[in-house]
Symmetry: C2
DNA sequence: GTCTATAACCGGATAGAC
DNA sequence: GTCTATCCGGTTATAGAC
């Protein structure tokens, strides 16, 4: 369950840290995630995280600029877990409704251990100026990975959306996923039953809409919507360039 | 620009405070809103707010349980400003597209002075455990007022939605408004031009969808969607009871 | 130059006297 | 209802060890 696996290459282009540094960093991150889960984000103090990791407080701040930055570790881990859980689904399920629903359900299931502190997490992520905002430039790598996953959901399915729509759909589905997560964060029902209900209903609805998109009656509506989306992405081109391997 | 106008009745059913208490409370709130606008939420310290209001730090906490609670004052003010700005629109505009668009635009225009600190504000509001979450029980009064406004947008318009849809639409439009605000908070374009673009496009789209809802092709879709919504509100009935005058 | 530690600072929040 | 004194935890400054 290690997040960092020290690359045994001679140099450390990604981090600029020595092996020992990497290890210390990993220990702090591990301690943080453990304590976040154990008692929630707010009540896990930096002092305690440092102590648990066996380092001083100042040292923890040497590796992580702020408490919030410790959360990035969670993002990465969460997406990896999700990918893992989706492998089977993407391989065997062909029906779009089911693909979509199961992939969304997998996201919630794999995120469940973190539910209690996801609220606090989201609190900081919601601030647009925060590097943790899912819309921030810093999140671009993770965002684009998640979008790719949605593209796979579509590609392997039994539905062939019109080309113009198909080009935008992965991004739209990612946005839909964000909405579901937003709901989940606020969901206090036992076992997050309401979120699963939401997924069940909306995934069917969304899939149906995608199927309907070829219908002549809806074509102008679809067309106008897509035009709008392209408008908005005109300015966003600054970010969509290079890309880490993460 | 006073938020509280001390009711000259003998008793204070709403607040449980004496007149002097009301005044002190109002002074603190006024100082807070002033400083929030002056230098942003984060950099306005409680100590400074207290000093500006001419009270001690502890005293400020006597009236407001936390710094976050001071934000409620902003909510109330913002909605009042919006109502004011909507009066004309609701009275003279009949076309649904235009009503909707103008009401949304009014929300953004009246909120513009607070844009810089709305991010920080939203940050705390996004936490589901916070009383400031727009979905929290504490926000119910404001939420229901805003929903009523949306009902008015529909009622006075030239569109007559099917009954089952009409019953849910105000809430849905309020949710739509929340989405627009979310976008606005993240909008860094000059004059928030992108938000206005978003409103222009989506309000037309939403209005068109409402008009389309009578179409037989879409009826089953609409019906299923509404069923889903009713499902979800089944549990929410605990909150929808009494209501402050605010 | 990379890492680690100690000692402060600052601001939100609370306790308890008056 | 109002104050003062204090706690607590995120964050920073800075000095020194490897």
């Amino acid at each position: 369950m290690n997040l960092e696996s020290a690359s045994p290459t001679g140099f450390e282009a990604t981090s600029g840290l020595t092996q020992k540094g990497e290890q210390t960093r990993a220990r702090i991150l591990e301690a943080a995630l453990f304590l976040f889960m154990e008692r929630g984000y707010d009540r896990a103090t930096m002092r305690e995280i440092a102590r648990q990791a066996g380092v001083s407080l100042g040292n923890a701040y040497y590796y992580f600029r702020s408490k919030e930055h410790l959360i990035q570790g969670y993002y990465a881990q969460s997406h990896q877990d999700h990918l893992q859980a989706c492998r089977d689904i993407l391989e065997h399920e062909k029906n779009l409704e089911d693909r979509l629903r199961k992939v969304l359900e997998a996201k919630i299931v794999t995120s469940e251990p973190y539910h209690q502190f996801a609220g606090a997490l989201f609190k900081t992520a919601a601030d647009p100026s925060s590097p943790l905002s899912p819309f921030s430039p810093e999140s671009q790598p993770t965002r684009s990975q998640a979008t790719q996953l949605m593209a796979q959901v579509l590609d392997g399915s039994d539905v062939n959306a019109p080309d113009d729509l198909a080009a935008e759909l992965p991004k739209l589905l990612w946005l839909y996923l964000m909405g579901v997560i937003l709901f989940w964060i606020h969901d206090r029902s036992p076992g997050c039953a309401r979120t699963f209900l939401l997924i069940e209903h909306t995934s069917r609805l969304v899939a149906k809409l995608i199927r309907l998109a070829r219908n002549p009656l809806l074509r102008p509506l679809t067309h106008r919507t897509l035009e709008m989306l392209r408008d908005f992405q005109a300015d966003d081109r600054r970010l969509t360039d290079s890309q880490d391997s993460l």
